[in-house]
């Protein structure tokens, strides 16, 4: 946030266009260096692997000179910084190598599985925000009361419970015992080959194609993992909402508004919350990023065919290309959301705009 603080200062000092250009440039530098850092870290991890990538390709029966030749082709004998340069270039074009498991280029696999994770994270964040914000407001408004305590406990548990364990128990309870939700997976086998996804976001596709029975089935599949992620999202969002609302409600303009005779409802929802909305949006964005990251653990439980499951499968097969490719994508999106929310915060912050 330091770079953007100085951007705010630049606004305040009213230095105008050149200051804006300067800070935008510095922001760009931040973006570039952060992504380069990510590439460097994944490159390093890839080189740390004690498996010779050449052997992984030619197999164990190849004689020494064949292995050597493949090493040459892969550029493994080049100095490290040159290898890194090639690596960056490949990453920028989306070439993450080939998956040992599926024999497809990793990028093709990722493009196939990523929408499922995005869909799940979106549903989770929606639930988290739609429930978390009102709960946070409630807790802030009725601070110290039972309601407040309950909301805080819900949040606290959300911070302390292992998500995969809760998911497992939820699956047993809601699927095995109550049979309320559908079988782990994204869609029933019945529909798997008769439903053609267009965007990769099945809920959207089914709705667009007006296949209501498929949509219903998809809903029954996504509701449990989505609610689980929603709970975690809710824990974070409600806590933050509460914090921001308490901050707002202690401001002087609230007292002034009350003195003017505005109703409490208006004050809470149209004034305090609106001001709290700005940091709240960034919180929601960060929660979304967090859910994307958590997919690695939750997708195995629910057999959700997304990027998380892809990474864990590849993991157990020592398919480092796939693991690193997936890591990079999640990392890139995660970083992107973080940076974007920083930008959003400073664009939307009324304090910067009003000057």
């Amino acid at each position: 946030m330091t770079i953007l603080d100085s951007k705010t200062e630049a606004w305040r000092s009213g230095a105008g266009a050149s200051a804006f250009a300067m800070t935008s440039l510095r922001f760009l530098v931040t973006v570039v260096t952060t992504y380069l850092g990510l590439l460097a870290v994944t490159f390093f991890i890839g080189r740390v692997v004690p498996i010779d990538p050449a052997l992984a390709i030619v197999g164990d029966r190849a004689p020494a000179h064949v292995v050597e030749r493949v090493r040459e082709e892969l550029g493994l004998n080049l100095p490290l910084y040159q290898q890194f340069f090639i690596y960056v270039r490949q990453a920028l074009t989306g070439d993450f190598g080939t998956s040992v498991l599926t024999t497809n280029p990793v990028m093709t696999d990722i493009r196939r599985v990523f929408p499922a994770t995005i869909e799940l994270a979106t549903v989770g964040t929606l639930i988290g925000a739609l429930l978390g914000v009102p709960l946070g407001v409630l807790a802030a408004v009725k601070r110290g009361s039972i309601a407040d305590q309950i909301v805080r406990i819900i949040g606290l548990i959300g911070y302390s419970v292992p998500i995969f364990w809760l998911g497992l128990l939820a699956l047993v309870f809601f699927y095995a015992k109550l049979k309320w939700v559908a079988y782990p997976g994204r869609i029933d086998i019945v529909y798997e080959y008769s439903f053609t996804p267009v965007t990769g976001f099945y809920l959207l596709d089914a709705a667009m194609q007006r296949q209501w029975d498929v949509l219903w089935d998809l809903f029954r599949h996504i509701i449990l993992p989505g609610s689980l992620l929603g709970y975690f999202s809710l824990a974070y969002i409600s806590r933050m909402t509460r914090s921001f609302m308490l901050n707002e409600l202690s401001q002087e303009y609230i007292v002034a508004a009350r003195a003017k005779g505005l109703s409490e409802t208006r004050i809470i929802w149209f004034h305090a919350l609106r001001n709290a909305a700005v940091p709240l949006i960034t919180v929601i964005a960060l929660s979304y990023a967090g859910l994307l990251e958590g997919s690695v653990l939750t997708e195995t439980i629910f057999s959700w065919p997304g990027l998380g499951l892809y990474i864990t499968n590849s993991l157990q097969n020592a398919d480092m290309n796939a693991v690193l490719g997936g890591t990079m994508i999640i990392g890139a999106v995660f970083i992107g959301i973080n940076l974007l929310s920083d930008v959003l915060y400073h664009i939307l912050d009324p304090r910067t705009r009003s000057r």
Partner: protein, 546 residues
């Protein structure tokens, strides 16, 4: 204000409750489609669908239902073979030339006619590609240089195979029922073959469609492969050009599911028709439930763990023996293996010619400690075991870890998925490997060979039997096994195998633990669902649904 907030809360809780209630509405769509067989099975061992390269158990079943061979096991008497693509065959007087006459007018799924040329091509590519299963054919003296001569098409419907010794005919024919002898559509394969620059290691300028067939199909079986996504699913579709009785079901889907509990739930809910990896507790539960049943068949598959003789500690004969006394066979048999296996300690599975049922070993920590002390390892040592992430292998490994610890041997379990651990094993880079061995064909030579035949123990050795993988150098046993192959008298042949089993029991670096009983839980909607004696006789094309 309070009221409004409460109202909001109430609205939210009501809608949440409604959502759950709606989700609880009776599932009208869980049932599998009437024209599709859905099996839940752990298929993560599949690395390719090319019959000339595949050597894995799951693939054996897939290719059995999608490709045809010259001959197949007679399902009524598995010690005999019947012709599938071959109408009849004759063997020359010197026992070295087999002439097969193909049934006329048969077609591949592509519509191309099945000719002897295709058969010869299938043999040629298997030998030239020289992948893991190639030894099944090269053991008959076929090499990359002579295969086009020794396995050739005399005319459009006559295929002639010349072997290098007068083997027992039953042996040769049994081998021809294995996956590597599947007949491929030469035209389709070569259309999709890739050009390759010849090198010292691989002398040919084409890959014979190896890359295409990794996920592609060029066969003539009752089903054709529509799709394979690694660790996810295999989809088979009815082959409308099949020359035999077409299967009743249009599609067969093998869904990758590793967990017994998950499979059981899915079976109960009707999400799958067959569950293939049920564990003892779930087998019990399914057998008691209405609407489903269990079918089982003993398989010629043995579970064992092997000690890499390249590890000098594991090469000591006392250590080998000690390991055999450090497995709690009884406890494992009663619990981890209940219903899915029987304790078995010799290398020939029950039911094959010459199989012995000796079980001389029991858990005996004291004796093991004595043996270790004799080997100078009284303080124990550390060793690793590569364990595939499936049950019951993991459970057995964890239990063996405990019993070994009682004698001072510290076992580090290295977990891995099928491909990873198999690759390491085939490269001889393990300490101990635990896994299964399924006979390649229903003849004692298959197991005898893999456990006792190691003609070239060097790292470049071409014959990758288990004996080789564990660097067990046994020239005398190798000779004996070779001799048994040529023994025409069954009783004498059986005696040789019995002797071999006894030797492996005492000195072999193999601790055989049990023989598999394969179970499948299936829905009563299925008719004609059966498991065969081997994975490449688990036919699904005879199954229909109510």
């Amino acid at each position: 204000m309070m009221n409004l907030l409460n109202k909001h809360m109430r609205l939210m809780t009501t809608s949440a409750a409604m959502a759950l209630l709606l989700a609880a509405a009776p599932q009208a769509f869980a049932a599998t489609p009437a024209d599709t067989l859905v099996e839940g099975w752990a298929i993560d061992d599949i690395i390719t669908l090319d019959p000339g390269e595949a050597f894995e158990i799951s693939t054996a079943e897939v290719t059995a239902n999608t490709y045809s061979k010259l001959v197949n096991l007679d399902m009524n008497d598995t010690s005999k073979v019947v012709g599938e693509l071959a109408d009849s065959w004759t063997i020359s007087d010197d026992g070295m030339t087999y002439t097969f006459k193909l049934k006329p007018g048969l077609k591949f799924a592509s519509g191309n006619p099945i000719t002897a040329e295709d058969v010869a091509f299938s043999f040629e590519r298997a030998v030239k590609l020289d992948k893991s299963p190639a030894f099944l054919l090269t053991q008959f003296g076929l090499t990359g240089d002579n295969v086009t001569e020794k396995a050739k098409a005399a005319d459009e419907t006559t295929f002639v195979l010349t072997v290098d010794k007068a083997y027992a005919p039953s042996f040769v024919l049994n081998v021809l029922t294995s996956t590597v002898a599947s007949v491929l559509d030469k035209k389709v394969v070569m259309e999709n073959a890739k050009a390759v620059t010849p090198s010292d290691d691989y002398k040919y300028d084409t890959d014979f469609g190896n890359e295409f067939l990794k996920t592609g199909y060029a066969g003539s079986g009752p089903y054709k492969t529509r799709e394979w996504r690694a660790n996810e699913v295999v989809v088979l579709e009815r082959n409308d050009n099949y020359f035999g009785e077409k299967p009743a079901l249009a599609r067969v889907i093998y869904r990758h599911m590793k967990e017994s509990a998950g499979q059981r739930l899915a079976l109960e809910n009707g999400d799958i028709d067959v569950a293939r990896n049920l564990e003892p507790g779930d087998i019990d539960a399914v057998s008691k439930k209405d609407g489903m049943a269990i079918t089982s068949a003993p398989k010629g598959t043995l579970y064992y763990f092997s000690l890499n003789q390249k590890n000098e500690k594991l090469a000591k004969p006392e250590v080998i023996e000690a390991f055999k006394y450090l497995v709690d066979y009884d406890a494992i048999g009663e619990t981890l293996l209940k219903g899915i296996g029987t304790i078995h300690q010799t290398f020939l599975p029950a039911g094959q010619l010459g199989a012995l049922d000796d079980k001389p070993y029991k858990l005996d920590v004291a004796k093991a400690k004595e043996l270790l002390a004799k080997a100078g390892l009284a303080d124990g040592f550390t060793v690793t075991m590569d364990v595939r992430n499936t049950q019951p292998v993991t459970g057995i490994a964890e239990n063996v870890q405990q019993t070994l610890a009682q004698a001072g041997i510290k076992l580090e379990i290295i977990p891995g998925d099928g491909k990873q651990t198999l690759t390491k094993y085939r490269a001889r880079q393990h300490d101990i490997y635990i896994g299964q061995w399924g006979s390649d064909y229903f003849d004692p030579n298959s197991n005898a060979e893999t456990f006792t035949y190691n003609p070239d123990n060097s790292d470049e050795g071409k014959t990758k039997t288990l004996a080789w993988r564990n660097a067990w150098d046994v020239p005398e046993l190798t000779k004996k096994t070779q001799g048994a192959l040529l023994e025409k008298d069954s009783a004498a042949r059986a005696a040789i195998y019995e002797d071999l089993q006894k030797q492996v029991l005492t000195t072999g670096p193999f601790v055989v633990i049990f023989q598999q009983i394969e179970n499948a839980g299936y829905s009563n909607k299925l008719k004609g669902y059966k498991l065969g004696p081997s994975f490449d006789t688990n036919f699904v094309y005879t199954v229909s649904k109510d």
